[in-house]
């Protein structure tokens, strides 16, 4: 079990939150996704998963969800 908080830009509203949550939840081993929306700035996306996810995996999931970009990851 591991939890990582990602800084993601490009999110502006609840729709974005839904899109990002949907795509990230679809990744293998992801059990929980919570988003703290900062409209127009860096939103904090916390992903809990069985195994650590690679930045590429997260990036491409964000790409899939829309025009969102992974800025930083903070594992804890």
């Amino acid at each position: 079990m591991t939890a990582t908080t990602y800084a993601v830009t490009g999110m502006t509203c609840e729709h974005c939150v839904r899109a990002v949550t949907e795509e990230l939840t679809r990744l293998g081993g992801v059990t929980e996704v919570t988003v703290e929306l900062v409209g127009g700035g860096q939103s904090a996306v916390r992903v809990t998963s069985d195994e650590p996810l690679s930045a590429d995996t997260v990036s491409s999931a964000l790409e899939e969800a829309g025009d969102y970009r992974l800025i930083a990851a903070d594992q804890h």
Binding site: G10, M11, T12, C13, E14, H15, C16, R18, A19, E22, G39, G40, E64, A65, G66, D67, Y68
Partner: protein
């Protein structure tokens, strides 16, 4: 296809240029709240094999190129899976400009559909309310009539809420729609249950004014709640839909500015063709009074070009062979032959259209306050209902009683005044604003006024009058000012040039009387004017012209004063007669008399004024000094204004922009709050959030104050809309809810919300 007279091309059904294998489909997209939604839909559509899609957020449209095997139905399905709605428009637009106008039309369609639902529901609901509240009228079996009347209201009238609630539920989200849908459904379904399986359906039953619901489990009906809430919320939604901004309008207004056709020179002869057929390198003729069809370079002729609609600058620019001209500007005086250098979507006008579109796309729609509150409220209420149910069961109460209490929680939780909270305040606020000359476009505007800390003001036409006027008269040593004004005024009065007109008007003003007649008036293009008045041969114009053509020397005092004036961005005209230069006239755009006061007021409201202009720094500083602004951004190109706003925003400021010109449109859309002068261009007005009808800068602080007051009223309304119902929640959970309490909560909160909104009518600006 007809790329035609438009800058934005609209793909229509069977365009000949597309191959047989692919075709283009246009979809109307609903439910997008921000530009990211558009990007998401785009991505989902593009994932279909062979499909290329672009989604425009502001226009709520998707343009999709599809291969043979894909049907529009497939596309609609993909969009719906992503959580939005899509439809193929029934009719294809005949031309691109009409396509742009379709956006607002659809929004009008939404209002019309809500109106229909509202009307039918209201007609059905009135007897429901009358029967439910006047026991004398309750004939035997009246409750079955209630059911007949309320069923269509709940099922059809409230359908938009049920649909939206369902769409939200699939994403695990809750909005105001969820609350309305859950509340009305709980009330309706419970009533149906009570009628068929409880005691409420017994022919002799009357509306339950019994105080305890717990002993006679299912004898009360809440059909009046289901119907009443639906009608009130529909009414609110209808008002909002009518007030909603029409996002496509700015683009449509901008595009309609361009010339429609153009006189192209083909083999020496003029041929009139639609502007879309103009190609780079074509030479075309522009007569006086005509719009220039495309960006180009003057090949022959001499004229003054009025670019005020693009730049806002009041002085026409004089052009001759080799000078660049911009499409959509007006040729004011002479015949020109222009070689096109940029056409169609490459022109400056088209680029401005794109800037406006980009700025509008990038703006996240503020979530409705009522939705934000509901997002928290709904899960809490459902939680309470569940806890109520479980608690009652654990206490060993009968299952029916437990359900009664739980459903009662859901029924009472839906505040019917919620639907009225925003629209009534908005209606009264915008009405009061209209009286004061402030037109507010929609509720989302109000959200943005609260955090504003900076007000960027365009210079020309906003802080200044945007018109030339006589600023100073400097007679040569020994010259009488009155005579100077009389003679120059008389000659310039015959001129049609705006500078001449300004001098003549200024002269009449200062002399307080008429001007002598002029004979032999001649306008020397680009140099000056001459004529005879009161027996003197008078010439007025440029220094070099007077010195050369008229052999008149300019006194050093005047030359020094002229340099000073020109450095401050003012225009100077020398005048002379009888072999001598007799004086200097300074013409400039003047600061509106109320501007300084308005800026002082903005400072009192702790808003930082910033002057933004395309003029040079000296000219900007001169105006800024006069009105008391110390932060100046000067020398900005028309396309750079939106960027300037973006930079301020990036520095953490929340920016309101006040402007009037086409060149301000993108900046107005980019700003957190855009305010357009009502005296300005249509495009600026369409791109803005607020319009100041009088063009008086003092309405800027008034508008911000009114918007903030309205927003506070909305917040107050939301609080009270919830408060009465929240107060009744414990009663419901304890099983004490009865129709009397729910009706009282409905009535009190509605009356309170409406009267609270009406208080906005007393809003008075401070000065």
């Amino acid at each position: 296809m007809r790329q035609g007279n438009s800058l934005v091309s609209t793909v229509t059904g069977d365009q000949p240029s597309a191959t047989d294998a692919t075709r283009s489909v246009e979809l109307t997209i609903g439910g997008m709240t921000c530009a990211s939604c558009a990007a998401r839909i785009e991505k989902k559509l593009n994932r279909l094999a062979g499909v290329t899609a672009t989604v425009n957020f502001a226009m709520e449209k998707a343009r999709v190129t599809v291969p043979a095997g894909v049907t529009p139905r497939d596309l609609v399905k993909v969009v719906e899976q992503a959580g939005y709605t899509a439809a193929v428009p029934a009719t294809r637009e005949p031309d691109p400009a009409a396509g742009l106008a379709a956006g607002p039309g659809e929004q009008a369609g939404e209002a019309a559909s809500l109106w229909q639902r509202l009307l039918v529901s209201a007609v059905l609901t009135v007897p429901v309310l009358v029967l439910a509240f006047v026991p004398v009228l309750q004939f035997r079996g009246y409750q079955w009539l209630l059911l007949v009347l309320a069923t269509p209201v709940w099922a059809w009238g409230a359908w938009p809420f049920h649909k939206a609630a369902w769409a939200n539920a699939r994403h695990g989200a809750a909005t105001m729609d969820t609350l309305i849908s859950v509340g009305t459904s709980a009330a309706y379904l419970w009533s149906v249950y009570a009628l068929f399986f409880g005691s409420a359906g017994a022919p002799g039953a009357r509306s339950g004014f019994a105080l305890l619901a717990r002993d006679a489990t299912a004898h009360s009906t809440y059909l009046d709640v289901a119907a009443g809430v639906t009608v009130l919320v529909l009414a609110g939604r209808y008002l909002e839909a009518r007030a909603r901004r029409q996002s496509g309008a700015a683009l449509a207004a901008l595009l309609s500015m361009g010339a429609r056709d153009v006189a192209v020179l083909r083999d020496g002869a003029e041929v009139r063709v639609p502007v879309g057929q103009l190609a780079v390198g074509d030479r075309f003729v522009v007569r006086p009074g005509e719009k220039i069809a495309a960006d180009g370079v003057v090949e022959a002729g001499y004229s003054a070009v009025d670019a005020s609609m693009l730049t806002g600058e009041p002085v026409p620019v004089e052009v001759t062979v080799g000078d660049p001209v911009t499409g959509a500007t007006v040729n004011a005086s002479g015949r020109l032959v222009v070689r096109a250098t940029r056409v169609g979507s490459d022109t400056q006008l088209a680029q401005m259209a794109r800037l406006v579109e980009d700025a509008q796309n990038g703006k996240a729609a503020a979530q409705r306050l009522a939705d934000r509150v509901s997002g928290v409220f709904v899960p809490v209420v459902i939680g309470i209902a569940v806890v109520t149910l479980i608690t009652w069961l654990l206490l060993g109460e009968p299952v029916v009683a437990a359900f009664t209490a739980a459903v009662a929680v859901l029924i009472i939780a839906c505040p019917c005044a919620l639907g009225l909270a925003t629209p009534t305040a908005l209606l009264v606020g915008t009405g009061r604003g209209a009286q004061l000359g402030i037109l507010i476009k929609g509720p989302e505007v109000l959200e943005s006024t609260r955090k504003i800390d900076t007000v960027v003001l365009d210079k020309t036409g906003t802080v200044t009058a945007g018109r030339m006027s006589l600023a100073a008269v400097v007679p040569a040593p020994g010259q009488d000012t009155g005579e100077l004004l009389t003679l120059v005024g008389a000659v310039e009065d015959a001129s049609e040039h705006p500078i001449g007109a300004a001098i003549a008007a200024g002269a009449v003003d200062r002399l307080g009387g008429g001007l002598p007649a002029v004979t032999g008036f001649v306008s020397h293009a680009g140099l000056g004017v001459s004529g005879a008045a009161d027996g003197h041969a008078v010439a007025a114009g440029r220094q070099a012209w007077l010195e050369g053509e008229w052999a008149q020397q300019v006194p050093a005092v005047l030359a020094a004063r002229a340099l000073e004036a020109e450095a401050a961005g003012q225009t100077t005209v020398y005048a002379g007669w009888d072999g001598q230069v007799r004086g200097l006239l300074v013409v400039s755009d003047t600061v509106k008399p109320t501007s300084a006061e308005a800026i002082a007021e903005l400072r009192r409201m702790r808003l930082r004024p910033v002057l933004l202009t395309g003029d040079n720094a000296r000219a900007a500083a001169a105006v800024a000094g006069q009105v008391g602004i110390d932060e100046v951004i000067a020398g900005v190109l028309p396309a750079g204004k939106a960027e300037a706003i973006r930079q301020l925003q990036a520095a953490g400021r929340v920016v309101a922009m006040v402007g009037d010109g086409v060149n301000d449109a993108a900046a107005l859309a980019q700003a957190d709050l855009g305010l357009a002068m009502g005296t300005g261009t249509d495009i600026a007005i369409e791109a803005s959030d607020l319009t100041l009808v009088r063009g008086d800068l003092r309405t800027v602080p008034e508008a911000v104050m009114l918007a903030r007051r309205t927003l506070r009223t909305i917040e107050g309304n939301l609080f009270w809309a919830f408060a009465y119902n929240v107060a009744a929640l414990p009663l419901a959970a304890l099983g004490f809810l009865n129709p009397l309490i729910s009706a009282a909560a409905m009535a009190f909160s509605s009356v309170f919300v409406v009267s609270n909104s009406l208080r906005l009518r007393t809003f008075r600006p401070r000065h």
